[in-house]
């Protein structure tokens, strides 16, 4: 959040100079060293790895907001001979996979919120920090005046759901089924798409996604579904939005494609008030030297960051660019364990977070006020010995033979224009992937069925807008705004419906543990509220840091440790939205 910039800029635990690990990994013992020393060490190791033909054992994970340095890191790794540069999941990475699949272009979805007149949101918590918050808030401010309708499909009563013209409380995890249930009605109403394979696909929809079946699975009455379809169909500029969550989003690619198919059916792709594709050519592909080309040959990178974390072996160098996968990924604990064995981990960030704790080197980077951006020059001069991650990458690159040619820039500032070269393209092509949905309905209904399971309850995540999915907790002014029924001292509170509480013999303030197939977290206290459905426990994300300044550390628990970890085969990202649990 923009208003927190001063808290980050002047944070007393900001890393003052480059750090080198002196204790065991995870013991938080570091000593100060010089940049030159560190960068030389890194360059040397990279050189050796390349000479041994192990260039593809160099990997990187960037945070989703580090757009410029992520581009440089991608380019850097590729020019070394590695395709293992990943970015933490965001709504853009998820929609990227869907756009690639359905529209054959490398870009992410961009919704024209400003001009739409009917927004059907499938769990996208638009007002809780989803997507580009400033754009959405500005557009939202005009919706009432313009008579724009918002229908929010959500399994929790959020502010977005309350402010919407209609809130559709849906059974958790069934959003894609609901979308295709709407598609059924649209097709029955005569809507046709000019997309490829529409015929085959619409057959599957008509056969499988009948109103009764969809109603049973989603828990929404069939009249409600057909009424929504009617309203959506009669809107002049309807928009279907996907990507469940707020700052942390989790949806399967199938779900995003399902919702996109509604947009295609309503013919709003590339039209005002509809769906566009955001592309950024970036820095282009670097010229590879012989070592790099050899290393890249026949190497298949992981599809996404969770796929990578789960399956990587023998990685020699791992760069962590402002990211925090140990806390944010459901494979975080596994990653921490694996990081202990990686010979060199280099973290680049302004504050030490959970992931940096397992590093060999931590390099202090800039906060946004110290950076020059496309908007203007840096507002404040660089504090301490911090460096822009772009500059760090450039410096390392300049010191490696065969690679420095691909980096003709002297500073990150020279790259800004290229990195911000974003284009919003009206892309009308759409291709329906029928095989994605042939067995989708049975898969989903099996996965969400909790009645016969020994895990009878459901864990659903939600976010506090200032905490987000974890970054906010280091700031005292965020702590000061956290509701009393969410955090008291070090104990996290979770929301539960009073009926469920009675059934399980617990009450307001009771301490419980939450157990899933993956493990146990606890103890948390219960807050009774009817904003949560029966048999659902809503747990806030972003807490439970093991290391994130004294303000953020050891407060509450991190539900990601026990949340679902099935990796989407297309995006390579874990879908953690729906987790079956029991309490004790």
């Amino acid at each position: 959040m923009a208003q927190l910039v001063l808290q980050e800029l002047y944070h007393p635990e900001r890393i003052d100079f480059p750090l080198k690990r002196v204790g065991k990994k995870g013991s938080s013992k570091f000593e100060a060293v010089s940049f030159d020393e560190v960068l030389k060490d890194i360059a040397t190791k990279i050189d050796n790895l390349r000479k041994d033909g192990k260039a593809n054992k160099i990997a990187a994970i960037s945070a989703s907001h580090t757009i410029l340095s992520n581009m440089l890191l991608d380019r850097f790794l590729m020019s070394l001979g590695s395709l293992n540069s990943y970015v933490e999941p965001s709504i853009d990475t998820l929609t990227n996979a869907a756009v690639n699949l359905t529209q054959g272009i490398n870009g992410s979805i961009s919704y024209d919120f400003e001009n739409s007149d009917f927004i059907l949101s499938f769990g996208a918590r638009l007002l809780e920090g989803w997507g580009e918050t400033s754009t959405i808030h500005r557009a939202f401010a005009n919706w009432k005046r313009r008579g724009v309708k918002l229908f929010q499909i959500d399994s929790l009563c959020t502010r977005t759901a309350s402010i919407a013209d209609k809130w559709i409380p849906i059974k958790p995890g069934t959003e894609s089924i609901f979308a295709l249930g709407i598609a059924y009605h649209l097709i029955k109403m005569g809507k046709r798409s000019k997309g490829v394979n529409f015929g085959d696909w619409s057959q599957v929809i008509i056969n499988q996604y009948t109103p009764e079946r969809v109603s049973t699975i989603t828990g929404v009455a069939s009249e409600v579904i057909s009424n929504i379809a009617k309203e959506f169909a009669s809107a002049k500029k309807p928009l279907a939005v996907s990507g469940k969550g707020a700052m942390g989003v989790s949806s399967s690619v199938a779900e995003i494609v399902a919702v996109q198919s509604l947009n295609s059916l309503m013919n709003n792709l590339g039209k005002k008030g509809g769906v566009f594709v955001k592309t950024c050519p970036g820095l282009g592909k670097p010229k590879l030297d012989s070592i790099a080309s050899a290393a890249i040959q026949n190497v298949k990178p992981a599809k996404g960051v969770d796929d990578f974390i789960k399956n990587f072996e023998n990685i020699e160098i791992l760069f962590i660019n402002g990211a925090n996968p140990v806390h944010r990924s459901v494979y975080g604990k596994l990653l921490a364990k694996k990081m202990k064995k990686i010979p060199m981990v280099v973290s680049i960030m302004p504050l030490i977070n959970d992931t940096a704790n397992y590093s060999d080197y931590i390099l202090p980077s800039l906060t946004c006020l110290e950076m020059t951006t496309v908007i203007g020059d840096e507002a404040v001069s660089t504090r301490n010995k911090s460096m822009h991650p772009g500059d760090i990458i450039l410096k390392i690159a300049k010191g490696i033979e065969g690679v420095s040619n691909s980096f003709p820039w002297s500073s990150y500032k020279d790259v800004i224009k290229l990195a911000s070269n974003v284009e919003i393209k009206p892309v009308i092509d759409f291709s329906f992937t029928t095989k994605l949905f042939k067995s989708h309905l049975t898969e989903v209904s099996k996965r969400i069925n909790t009645t016969s399971s020994k895990y009878p309850l459901i864990l659903l995540p939600y976010e506090l807008s200032t905490v987000g999915d974890g970054n906010g907790l280091a700031f005292p002014y965020v702590l000061k705004g956290i509701d009393a029924k969410i955090l008291t001292g070090d104990t996290l509170w979770v929301d539960m419906n009073p009926v469920t509480a009675k059934k399980h013999g617990v009450s307001e303030g009771s301490c419980i543990d939450i157990i899933s197939e993956k493990g146990k977290i606890g103890c948390v206290k219960i807050h009774l509220t009817k904003t949560v459905a029966t048999d659902v426990i809503a747990v806030p994300l972003g807490f439970g840091h093991t290391s994130y300044t004294k303000y953020g550390s050891c407060k509450g628990i991190n539900p990601k440790e026990i949340m679902s970890d099935s990796i989407d085969p297309i995006s390579g990202i874990a879908d953690w939205w729906f987790t079956r649990i029991k309490i004790s």
């Binding site: 959040m1 923009a2 208003q3 927190l4 001063l6 808290q7 800029l9 002047y10 944070h11 007393p12 900001r14 007002l127 809780e128 920090g129 918050t133 400033s134 808030h137 500005r138 939202f140 401010a141 009432k144 009563c157 959020t158 502010r159 977005t160 759901a161 309350s162 402010i163 809130w167 409380p169 506090l464 807008s465 200032t466 005292p476 002014y477 965020v478 702590l479 000061k480 705004g481 956290i482 509701d483 009393a484 955090l487 008291t488 001292g489 070090d490 419906n497 509220t529 009817k530 904003t531 949560v532 459905a533 029966t534 004294k550 303000y551």
Partner: protein
């Protein structure tokens, strides 16, 4: 002679609960920093973003319940009960309608906290601290209050003073020519918080305060007809912060229904 009457209109239909107003107020007014700030009853913050829900209503179930946010700061009453009760004159209502709070005059009896129906006033139960380099983020226009005194929102009157000084430096001496925006109103991403001069009939606050969606917090006398008011009229706070909402459930809650 000052003719300004500063007031605020907050459109709850536009409030998303993002918390920007709360954070910008904390930053602007140098709120103290604690490692554990979870003790809400003792929290020191001038703007409280209250989360309200009608889920305590017995007849409502999940699916009917609603959630909303109300940014609540000092309501700057025209008839402030806190000013009436302070034994040391640490708070007073100015000619521009802003209720000041001079913490250096306060000896911490907390009578004003007891008298405020809006829970707008907070007490420094602990010594305000700012760890290390956080001190560099402090706003130099706002003094750090001491332990044992009461503080509250002053509609960022230090910003008014800064604008006044700027105007005077430019040679503009008319005190009514000074206009300003408090931190919360300036930072709200949906422009839900509007600040202005209630005595200016052309201002947004003036117009919107008379909107049919407008109501005041815990000030049900606004709903009374004139005849009932005549019989039972006594002093009422008359806050200068107005809220707008088209959501019927919020308006019902305001009437204690």
């Amino acid at each position: 002679m000052i003719t300004r009457r500063w007031g605020m209109v907050i459109d709850l239909d536009k409030c998303t609960g993002c918390g920007t107003c709360e954070v910008s107020c904390m930053q602007e007014n140098n709120m103290p920093i604690f490692q554990d700030d979870s003790d809400d009853p003792k929290r020191v913050k001038l703007l409280n973003l209250m989360k309200i829900t009608n889920d305590r209503e017995k007849s409502l179930q999940y699916g009917d319940v609603k959630v909303a946010y109300i940014p609540k700061m000092c309501q700057q009453c025209d008839n402030p009960s806190c000013v009436a009760v302070c034994p040391a004159n640490a708070t007073d209502i100015g000619d521009d309608g802003v209720v000041s709070q001079i913490w250096s005059r306060c000896f911490g009896c907390r009578y004003c906290i007891g008298s405020c129906p809006y829970e707008a006033r907070v007490f420094n139960w602990w010594k305000p601290r700012y760890e290390g380099t956080f001190k560099e983020s402090l706003n130099p226009d706002v003094s750090i209050s001491s332990r044992g005194t009461v503080v509250k929102c002053t509609f960022c009157s230090h910003i008014w003073k800064r604008e006044r000084d700027k105007a005077v430096a430019k040679g503009i001496t008319d005190i009514n020519a000074v206009s300003y925006t408090p931190a919360c109103a300036a930072s709200c991403p949906t422009n839900a918080i509007i600040f202005g001069d209630l005595s200016d009939p052309l201002s947004d606050v003036s117009r919107l305060s008379k909107d049919k969606r407008a109501f005041r917090l815990v000030h049900t006398v606004d709903n009374w007809g004139v005849s009932k008011k005549k019989n039972l009229i006594k002093k009422y706070p008359e806050p200068k912060v107005f809220y707008l909402s088209s959501e019927e459930w919020i308006r019902d809650m305001m009437r204690f229904k």
